[in-house]
Symmetry: C2
Subunit: 721 residues, 2 copies
């Protein structure tokens, strides 16, 4: 918005007569293609002890031949500059211009400008820059032209071409080709360096990510660099997860940057015989997102948890939302789904959500679940509806809806005789990293996610104007929900059982389906209370040891008003990691483990990721359930603020939205709110009638008060909490 204003301002001051529609030109491509391409680039940067370690699922590719066009009505002729990544042709009103013009003249009047681009290696992309003609998402694109000519040269008058609006990442520099896209870097230095063997061990002070730069590298021989998220890992040259082994042949001293970025806190730098260097530093690589969300409270430990969570999340926010920075650096749908939610309470970076959703889904045909994981297909659907709810971006839902349909068709095609999903060859049923977690038979958790995904399909069908689809998905969702309660609800246990095997309920009760059932609002109030007591607060039901599932467990408890309990859990669990020296949050944390056991996973001594996106969930929980801000209708058109101190003396923070922030301060006596968006309802309990400056307060039920919040004003409430 700011940029647009600036341009218009500039143009007004420079005296040019321009249309108000003047916009910044962007590189554009077939929607989703750059996302798929760039996710291939990013995900193929994984290495394991020097070996290339690509994903195991299908990697899709961009369309190699794409046609772009837009119609313009010019009041005067206009010179238009063309920048293209690929081999191309240019047509004005269907007439080709010879060669590969870099600039063309478009006459006044109504004209159609088309470019067709072929590029196998990179994404076919164009950047068009005239006074009023600019490339942006209003251009139309297609990967197949269903037009032809007859023997006389006449073009068919019955086109079957499907045009869709172009995709873009708002890359605004015509001289920077999309394929050259890189995240920014800044130089950083180790906090401490000590000599070890022939080399040195550097401690960068906390978990970080980037390229190691070797200053004054010289000589002939082998250079080895061992990376460690822990000191133990960096020193374990045989077992550290990532390393560089390079053969050096430099007669003169030269500063050299390692080819691949890595995650580390410690770097064990070992030049072999004949190789020397002056020092090392790093180029910290980061996503240029803005930290908009904030949280501060009377509890210093909680504040530290919030800060470390935000840092953990920022490190894992890259070209896409990835799982963890050391090992996979892949786009895992279940992990990303949590990142979306954390993002809405921190960066509110909508483009990264869209990119990640597009990259995960790839292209048709669907040959497997997303990441091959059944549950991960479902999170993908849920992520789209959440995206709409938080951003109000209906166009994206419409654009991606066909790809939602084809994934759901794939899933529907895998139902068993009971209309339920169970393992089939090629399916990974993940749920969580947990010992002895059964994946056999018809697992209730998967059916629950299936039902929720069908509800999502029904909602998105409506947004995409597919009325029949909406009805059909809605019916399918209702039928499945009814079946879930008929088949999995155990009256005696007052809980959903974990699974059915051979058409019979198993005895097993786990937390998964039960906690999701709560915040999906699938239970009756009585069932909800029973589930809370019998499952969530029941120490006998197997405990969760990953922050991944703790996210949902704590969310379920918050949704039932258990903020004081959850606050203690957050302090115990995340505070527990901090006490062990964590500078970012982990892939898994089991308080019962000791010492270097915390570093192990997957049967490898340093297999565990110590900086995992799903470790950052306090960002989300504190924003949504303590500051208590969440959208009611899409894009915060309406929303609620229900502050819950959960035992804190005071807290304050900001929740970002597309239009600006919502600020909340809350102590036991005072609530202050201001908002840059929509219409909010501030709700709070008070023992006596609260005093509100400049606004009315309603008592909507006994002891529960509500103030309507309009944007651009400050609200102050005095109450007795």
């Amino acid at each position: 918005m700011k940029t647009l204003k600036k341009i218009i301002l500039l143009l007004i001051f420079s005296g040019s007569v321009v249309q108000l529609s003047a916009q910044k030109a962007s590189w554009i491509w077939y929607p989703g293609d750059f996302d798929i391409y760039m996710s291939n680039v990013m995900q193929n940067r994984r290495t394991e002890r020097g070996s290339f370690f690509p994903v195991f699922w299908k990697m899709d590719s961009h369309y190699v031949l794409v046609d772009f066009h837009k119609e313009f009505n010019l009041s005067q002729p206009e010179e238009v500059k063309l920048f293209v990544e690929g081999t191309y042709n240019v047509k004005i009103d269907g007439q080709a211009i010879s060669g590969f013009p870099k600039s063309i003249q478009i006459p006044a009047g109504k004209h159609k400008l088309s470019l067709k681009v072929y590029n196998q290696a990179h994404v076919p992309s164009i950047f068009v820059q005239g006074k009023t003609i600019v490339s942006d998402e209003t251009w139309l694109s297609t990967f197949e032209d269903k037009e032809w000519i007859d023997a006389s040269g006449k073009t068919s008058d019955k086109s079957g071409t499907t045009f869709v609006s172009a995709g873009s990442w708002n890359l605004n520099d015509p001289n920077q080709l999309p394929s050259q896209f890189k995240l920014p870097v800044i130089a950083q230095y180790a906090a401490k360096t000590e000599k070890t063997n022939n080399g040195s061990l550097s401690d960068f002070g906390k978990e970080t990510f980037g390229f190691i730069k070797v200053h004054g590298l010289k000589g002939k021989g082998r250079l080895s660099i061992y990376y460690g998220e822990s000191k133990e890992e960096a020193l374990s040259i045989d077992k550290c997860e990532t390393l560089d082994n390079l053969d050096i042949d430099l007669q003169q001293k030269k500063d050299s940057i390692m080819p691949l970025s890595k995650a580390f806190r410690y770097v064990n730098f070992q030049p072999g015989n004949g190789v020397s260097a002056d020092s090392i530093s790093m180029l910290y690589e980061y996503a240029p997102v803005t930290e908009r969300g904030s949280f501060k409270s009377s509890d210093a430990e909680l504040n530290k948890i919030y800060d470390v969570a935000k840092y953990t999340f920022h490190l894992n926010t890259r070209e896409f939302f990835i799982d963890g920075i050391k090992r996979d650096r892949w786009v895992w749908s279940g992990d990303a789904y949590q990142s979306y939610l954390m993002n809405y309470y921190s960066f509110f970076d909508a483009p990264t959500v869209k990119r990640t959703l597009l990259a995960q889904r790839g292209k048709d045909p669907v040959t497997a679940h997303i990441n091959t994981i059944m549950d991960y297909s479902f999170y993908w659907f849920l992520g789209i509806y959440d995206y709409y709810k938080f951003t109000g971006d209906q166009k994206f839902v419409q654009d991606i809806y066909p790809r939602m349909q084809s994934l759901m068709t794939y899933i529907d095609g895998r139902k068993n005789k009971n209309g339920l999903l169970e393992w089939m060859p090629g399916d990974w049923i993940f749920i969580d990293w947990a010992d002895k977690l059964s994946k056999d038979g018809e697992v209730s958790f998967e059916q629950l996610l299936y039902a929720r995904s069908l509800e999502t399909m029904a909602l998105c069908a409506k947004l995409a104007n597919d009325t029949n689809g909406a009805t059909q998905y809605d019916q399918q969702a209702k039928a499945l929900k009814a079946k879930i309660f008929e088949l999995y609800w155990n009256q005696q246990k007052s809980a959903l059982v974990h699974s059915r095997i051979n058409d019979k309920q198993t005895d097993n009760v786990t937390r998964y389906a039960n906690m999701f059932g709560i915040f999906f609002d699938y239970f009756s109030p009585e069932q909800k209370l029973a589930v809370k007591e019998n499952v969530l607060l029941n120490g006998k039901v197997a405990k969760i040891t990953t922050p991944y599932m703790r996210f949902y467990e704590l969310e379920a408890l918050c949704a039932m008003g258990e903020q004081p309990y959850v606050l203690k859990e957050i302090k115990n669990y995340w505070g527990g990691m901090l006490k062990l020296g964590a500078t970012s949050f982990w892939e898994e944390y089991n308080p019962e483990k000791k010492g270097t056991e915390h570093l192990e996973m997957y049967g490898r001594p340093f297999g565990k990721s110590l900086c995992h996106a799903w470790g950052a969930s306090p960002i989300y929980l504190l924003g949504k359930y303590y500051l208590g801000v969440q959208p009611v209708t899409a894009g915060y058109k309406t929303y609620t603020i229900e502050p819950n101190l959960g035992g804190l003396a005071w807290m304050e923070g900001k929740v970002p939205t597309a239009d600006g922030d919502i600020s909340v301060y809350c102590s036991k006596k005072e609530i202050r709110v201001s908002s840059a968006t929509g219409t909010g309802k501030l709700r709070f309990k008070s023992k006596s009638k609260p005093v509100v400056k400049n606004a009315e307060v309603k008592e909507i039920s006994k002891g529960l008060f509500e103030v309507t919040i309009e944007k651009g004003r400050d609200y102050e409430v005095r109450y007795s909490g």
Copy 2:
């Protein structure tokens, strides 16, 4: 076969102990991927007057991430060299080797060697060369590994991965990366050059194809080269179809090769002000296929027709079978289908057929007909069964069968309420280039091709061991055939009508469905005779003016024993082009046109291709219906030889097969046959009992005799024809 023997011999002489399975290593890739990739490269070489002119249908892409593996049992350790196009890892028995090794040691015993390759720009490919371990089509490949690990690092034991055998083009040079693949060239010179304006006009003596080489190019300015299949075209700098416009800045004389190969006979070379050159020559670019088929007869004009047809066909046989060398240079399925048949009677180059079939089909999902043309989808199916019939290569049918299924599913999904196909948005109903040819309603020709394609599906389903599919497709084909006769056969006209509109037969009778009905053997003997008289030999039914449909028209007449009539037609039609100076056969030839009218098409004065593959059909007709050789069972295991002089005094020629040639000489008194394959039945008519050396002769019906031909022997028959 020869190469294999040579290797084994060499190894025996060198005293090494090797397994007999020792083979030449090839570059391998995921099947179909290099075909798709290279067809993109080739088809994107089209230009029109200096503008890039790509295809309008969807271009697919290779899988960017591919896993290859094979298990070996080694009697002793072996060093294996690795060549890879892409970023890769190497695993022995699942254990990754660090870095990007170029050579590895594999221990004795049973081991699995795996390489996983990522390449966005080019096809992920490997070349593995050890003593016994070599990369070839026995390796397995996949684009998605459906395997995963649990938290302990244990790999899932229930894989859902589909492995298919790798693809190859038998590229045997490890240092020549597949992406560098190029057809060979040889230097050739103009027959005659004359000065024009500042430049020169060169006549290369006949239609040809390649890169123009400019000798001693020097200076600063514009160089223009105008290409012509005719002199008129080369001289028409405003209307010639292809040209080069280059900005030159050379201080020293330099020999320069033009970037894109072109089709031409005449080259109009025009250096602009400040630019000069000594001379031009060309690099003739060609497919290195062997001209195995041959035909010679007592008729010199027919011999010339055969030779020009073979040259025309060779020019259009490139990386794939293309339509014509000047303009499109694309892989059109209907054109290629005829090329396959011509190929079986000339080069017998099976790889080019496979490549072309794979390139046309591309990848799923199917979003349009092949080349967007309904009829062209059907020719694709027919081409696969023909391929099997001529080569006996069942494995290819099995490999491609899933892609046949998905294309047929797409087509089945487009049936109308009557179970028939008619135009839908995006469909091009081509049939032929012909004036006033109606494409409205339910066209009989399309239904006929649909029925034949379903029969093909049934046959291929059997070959691919899909028993249910075979039954289902067979039933579908039978039902459709019955419906065609019920709905389109007009008793009064004794012919199939052209179409139905609004559920009613039209009055229109065209040649298309009727001639295909003959060689599909869909008619009863009475219907066949009636169709021949009422349609094929009926001057009132609109004439065919493309060699494309003349192919089938003449085939239908040959199939009914009308060789004398067809011979006259061949001499008139193809001889007619020769009389007009053709050095290759044309896209269209209408004897009623005059002078430069013959060069026009698509509303452009030089729009017509003067070297079009479908112009070469005499190759096929003379081999199959005059020499009379055709397979009965797949791969010429059994076959027939039914020579038909059609009025010639004598003829002789060779028909190639996978195992060697079948030679036929036939005069009115003598037939000589020898064969390198299968078991043949030589059948001929004789007024008296024939004399056969070294073999028995049977009279199978009155005046019709049969001799069984075994391979490796010479047969001589004296008869009275």
